[in-house]
Every structure is written in structure tokens, then in C-alpha cells.
């Protein structure tokens, strides 16, 4: 049996934990630099505001009209509350896999025998405990495979009558829940795949579950076959491939204010290189290609500009310095004076495992793993970018804008909550 626990509108819910004054109000959280909406609480959604990824300035008036509370992303707070939620969930199962900041799978092993109080009561207990101890609202779905647990979680959240908890532990319930779900509501079925399935007359999850797995593999892919098998109770996902090493790594961010100088754009690019290269080393991979990109805002009046630079390495690398050397060539391509840059980023692609990579005798690697590991260790110990390349510059004018930031109640002494006596 598997359980999937996830927090309802995580970011917005986190904002309410230490601010009781806004618990009954519509709360909307903005992305980096307060650009777009990235989360809205249930109350805001009911009021019809807080659609994801809508630029804030476009709906500012609308939000004001309903008295919405606006917050910048407070990652320090979310990370701490996420950890607390995970620790609490972990108490309820022998094995756990943290899937993202707001969701985790609990695994009860192959035996499907229910605990003394029954699966449903257990799921309710998890939900109640997380609410009581962390003050975060979660939904819990249970099923005999990760995909069925995801489906049950969808039912718990979206299908009326479930109240935050759903368990697929019988054929009747499996049919009931799956036939109320669109194919695109199934874990791993995207909208494009969904359209193709719809053309074949497969409209809901139950239709897909009834398909012949072998035929599905021929028509689509092994991933869709796995999904069909999982919908029928055969476990195909395991913890390792649920979180496989990433195939591409990006670091991209919009600027706090528009950039027009080449130096500032260079600093920003170098910053992104440092971030992606560190991530790459963390998952022990090498990149064979890199892309740099920069653009103005599509919402600015002076026309949209976007340009990118692609480079393929002769020898795959994960050395920050090797990648940073390319920023000069990249800037020559993407920088034009007069453009008001809004966003830039760096992506590493065609990733290979560090251990399995076959090196070439005639083109030796120029990576300096000792230096990199030294840099990573120092930065892990003393905080991000304690040690960084000079290419990144020392005065960054584009740092994050977080105008509506709430206090970091659990990670900063000066921000701990005040309690009236």
C-alpha cells in the first residue's frame, strides 16, 4: 500500500501558519521578484482570483477589490514548514519518499493487509496530525501503487464527498474514482498525450485502465504502459526512478529591475552558471551542452526581444570555470545595447553520469574536481556563494525583489512570532 500526502496550496497555507489574522482571508503568493502569482489559498480560488502564473500587475486592481493579502515567496519559511510536515508524515510509515516541497509518498510494503484501525482511519490520522502539529492542511490518498495513491489523492482534493482523504482499497472504489477522473488528471499523462488518447475514445482514467498494456506500449511508450499497469494495481514505479537524475538542469530568473548594462547581464549569467554547475555536481553528472538565454519582458511596450547561445563541449564537464568561460561568447550573441533585459538563464543539457562516462584519450578533461569540491564544501558550510568566481561580480543590481515578504518566523531570531500576554 502507498499513501500520497500533499499540502493544499502549500505556499499560501504556509503564510497562514504564523499569521492568524489572515487565516480567513484570500491569500495570494507571488513568484520571484513579485512577477506572477504562484499560489492562492482556497478562499482566494473560490473568489475567482489568484490564477497561477498571471502577472501580478495585470490583476492588481482585481485583487485589491476583494481585499486579497499579497505575499512574496518566503522560501525560508516554506522550506522549514515542509521539513516539519515531512517529519510528521514519516512517523506514520516504515518507508517514505519526499517527492517535492509539498508532497511525499509513504510506503507500507508489498503486503496489502490493513492496519488494525483500517487504511481510512490511518489516512485520517495523518491528515489530522499534520494539521494539529504543523497547521498545514493536507490531502491523503492511498492505493496499492503510487499511481493509484496519486489518483486517490486527486479524489480527496477534487471530487466532492471525500473531505481530504480517499483510499482505493476495493474494485468498487477503484472504478468509482477512476471513472470520475479525466485522463489528464492521471499522474504522468500530459495534455498532449491526453488529446491523443481522447481521439482514441479514451476519456477518463477508467477507460485507460481497461486498455491492453502491450498495445499501449506499441501505440505510445513504455511509460504509458507502466501507467496502465499501475492503474490496475501492478507496481511499476520504484523510489529510484520516481526521482531519477535530471536530464536537463536550468537556472533562470527574472531581474528585480530591468538591466541595460552588459556588466550586469554578465554577472547574472555567471550567477546562473554557478547555480547550475553546483546542481550538476550534486547529482554527479557531466553536461555535454549548454545554452545561455536572455530576453526582455513580453509585457514591456518596446517590443519583445529574446536571444540564445548554444555550445557543445568536446569533453563533457561539470566545472564552473569551464562553463563560465563561455559567458563572454554568449554575451556577444545575446547582448544588444538598448534592450531592457527582464530575464536570463543558463541550461545544461545532454547530461551523463560522472561514473559511467567514457573519457577520450586524446582530448583530456580540463575539469578541476578538487577545486570544485573545495568550493562546494565551503559554500555548503558557510552559505551559498561564500566562495564564487569574480565573473559574478560583487555588486548585483538585479537581486530579488520581495516587496511583500512575511517574516521568517522559524528560521530567524528577529522574526519569531509575537504572542500577546
Amino acid at each position: 500500500m502507498y499513501a500520497l500526502c500533499d499540502v493544499n496550496s502549500m505556499y499560501a497555507s504556509c503564510e497562514k501558519v504564523f499569521d492568524p489574522a489572515i487565516r480567513n482571508k484570500p491569500v495570494v503568493v507571488l513568484t520571484n521578484n513579485d512577477g506572477c502569482i504562484c499560489a492562492a489559498c482556497g478562499i482566494a480560488k473560490q473568489m475567482g482570483v489568484g490564477k497561477k502564473f498571471v502577472p501580478y500587475f495585470q490583476v492588481k486592481k482585481e485583487l485589491e477589490a476583494v481585499g486579497a493579502v499579497i505575499r512574496s515567496s518566503n522560501y525560508e519559511l516554506y522550506a522549514d514548514l515542509s521539513q516539519r510536515m515531512m517529519d510528521t508524515c514519516a512517523r506514520f510509515a516504515p518507508d517514505m519518499n519526499i517527492y517535492s516541497i509539498d508532497e511525499c509518498f509513504l510506503s507500507y510494503g508489498k503486503s496489502v493487509s490493513a492496519p488494525a484501525q483500517g487504511w481510512h482511519k490511518l489516512a485520517e490520522a495523518i491528515r489530522k496530525t499534520v494539521w494539529r502539529e504543523v497547521r498545514l492542511p493536507i490531502c491523503v490518498g492511498m492505493g496499492s501503487t503510487p499511481t493509484l495513491a496519486k489518483a486517490a489523492n486527486h479524489a480527496a482534493k477534487r471530487i466532492s464527498g471525500f473531505n481530504g482523504v480517499a483510499v482505493i482499497d476495493s474494485e468498487v472504489k477503484r472504478k468509482d474514482i477512476l471513472s470520475q477522473m479525466l485522463v489528464t488528471d492521471i499522474w504522468g499523462i500530459g495534455s498532449r498525450l491526453g488529446r491523443r488518447l481522447n481521439l482514441m475514445g479514451i476519456n477518463n482514467a477508467w477507460d485507460l485502465a481497461k486498455q491492453n498494456p502491450t498495445k499501449v506500449r506499441k501505440d505510445f511508450s513504455i511509460l504509458v504502459e507502466s501507467t496502465v499497469r499501475e492503474l490496475n494495481g501492478e507496481v511499476r514505479h520504484n523510489w529510484d526512478n520516481v526521482r531519477a537524475a535530471k536530464k536537463e538542469i536550468y537556472s533562470t530568473r527574472s531581474f528585480g529591475q530591468r538591466i541595460t548594462e552588459i556588466e550586469q547581464l554578465q554577472f547574472a549569467m555567471a550567477t546562473h552558471v554557478e547555480i547550475v554547475a553546483a546542481k550538476l555536481r550534486k547529482q554527479k553528472s557531466l553536461a555535454a551542452a549548454v545554452t545561455f538565454f536572455a530576453s526582455s519582458s513580453p509585457h514591456d511596450y518596446d517590443g519583445y526581444f529574446s536571444e540564445s547561445y548554444f555550445h557543445r563541449f568536446t569533453v563533457p564537464t561539470n566545472d564552473t570555470i569551464n562553463i563560465i568561460k563561455l559567458t563572454q561568447a554568449a554575451l556577444n550573441k545575446v547582448f544588444k545595447s538598448g534592450i531592457r533585459y527582464y530575464k536570463c538563464g543558463v541550461g545544461l543539457m545532454d547530461l551523463h553520469s560522472e561514473q559511467l562516462f567514457q573519457y577520450d584519450l586524446f582530448s583530456p578533461s580540463t575539469d578541476n574536481p578538487k577545486l570544485m569540491s573545495c568550493m562546494d564544501t565551503i559554500n555548503a558550510r558557510f552559505g551559498r556563494s561564500t566562495l564564487h568566481t569574480a565573473a559574478k561580480g560583487f555588486e548585483q543590481k538585479f537581486a530579488m525583489r520581495r516587496e511583500f515578504l512575511s517574516p521568517q518566523y522559524t528560521t530567524k531570531w528577529s522574526d519569531i512570532p509575537k504572542i500577546l500576554c
Binding site: 504564523f18 492568524p20 489574522a21 489572515i22 487565516r23 480567513n24 521539513q83 516539519r84 517529519d87 510528521t88 494539529r132 502539529e133 504543523v134 497547521r135 518566523y409 522559524t410 531570531w413 528577529s414 519569531i416 512570532p417 509575537k418 504572542i419 500577546l420 500576554c421
Partner: protein, 134 residues
């Protein structure tokens, strides 16, 4: 002329290894003593004089445990109409009691938004101010 090498000589004296070296991880940590359920505990700061009877003064640190079962007359933190308050709870009479002199009990009525947020398991008196600003 005799040439000197300007380097100090080292004798190979390394001394005895401290017999306590292996036990150095035993240093006391206040979290261990004061916090029973780390993932359910948060720290707040008291503001106001109404809980002096329980030894809670303005500026004291309050350790609040959300996982504790609430007993009658516990010192708790509650959300009262959108504000965190620290009071003693009287479950029978449904009221919040201030232990300081001259504070009347607050009887909860129907329109009140009220939730208990956790039990104040410890309060920390700061007899001298912190060296650093909090």
C-alpha cells in the same frame, strides 16, 4: 662562517591524546532538554504583562508545543480573533484566564474566532539582555 637555517626545530612531542576526545559529542544542547517534539514546536516572544502570575514577563521566550494534549488550566497559545494570545485555558467555563493582577477572565462567545495553537511547555526568562539583538 657557520650558516644557520632560520627555521625553528620541532621536537617530536605530541603529548597524550585526550582521553575525552571520543566523548566530545556529549556537549549539552538546550534543544534536547527543552524541546520534546521538534517538528511540532515553535518559539515565540511574549508581549505584555497579563501572565506575570505564571512567571511570564514581557520579552520572555515562549516554547510552544502543538502536539501536546491540552489539559485544563494549561498555559496555552491561542488564536483569538486573529491574534496570538498566551493565556490559561479553563475548558469547563470556556474562558481564558490571565494570571497577572487586575486582568479579568475572557469568556469566549459565539462570534469569536478561537483555536488553540499549542501548549506553552516552557518560558525562558532573560535576566540579562542578549548580547546580540534578537
Amino acid at each position: 662562517m657557520l650558516k644557520f637555517i632560520p627555521i625553528k626545530a620541532h621536537a617530536g612531542i605530541v603529548g597524550f591524546e585526550s582521553p575525552a576526545a571520543e566523548y566530545s559529542q556529549l556537549r549539552l544542547n538546550l534543544d534536547q532538554l527543552l524541546i520534546d517534539h521538534p517538528s511540532a514546536t515553535y518559539i515565540g516572544i511574549a508581549e505584555g504583562e497579563s501572565m506575570k502570575g505564571d512567571g511570564i514577563f514581557s520579552g520572555d521566550l515562549l516554547i510552544v508545543d502543538r502536539s501536546q494534549t491540552i489539559k485544563d488550566h494549561d498555559v496555552v497559545v491561542a488564536n483569538l480573533n486573529g491574534v496570538f494570545v498566551c493565556k490559561k485555558i479553563d475548558k469547563v467555563q470556556k474562558c481564558l484566564i490571565s494570571s497577572g493582577k487586575g486582568f479579568a477572565p475572557y469568556y469566549l462567545c459565539e462570534g469569536d474566532e478561537f483555536q488553540i495553537e499549542g501548549v506553552v511547555t516552557r518560558s525562558i526568562r532573560l535576566h540579562r539582555a542578549f548580547k546580540k539583538k534578537l
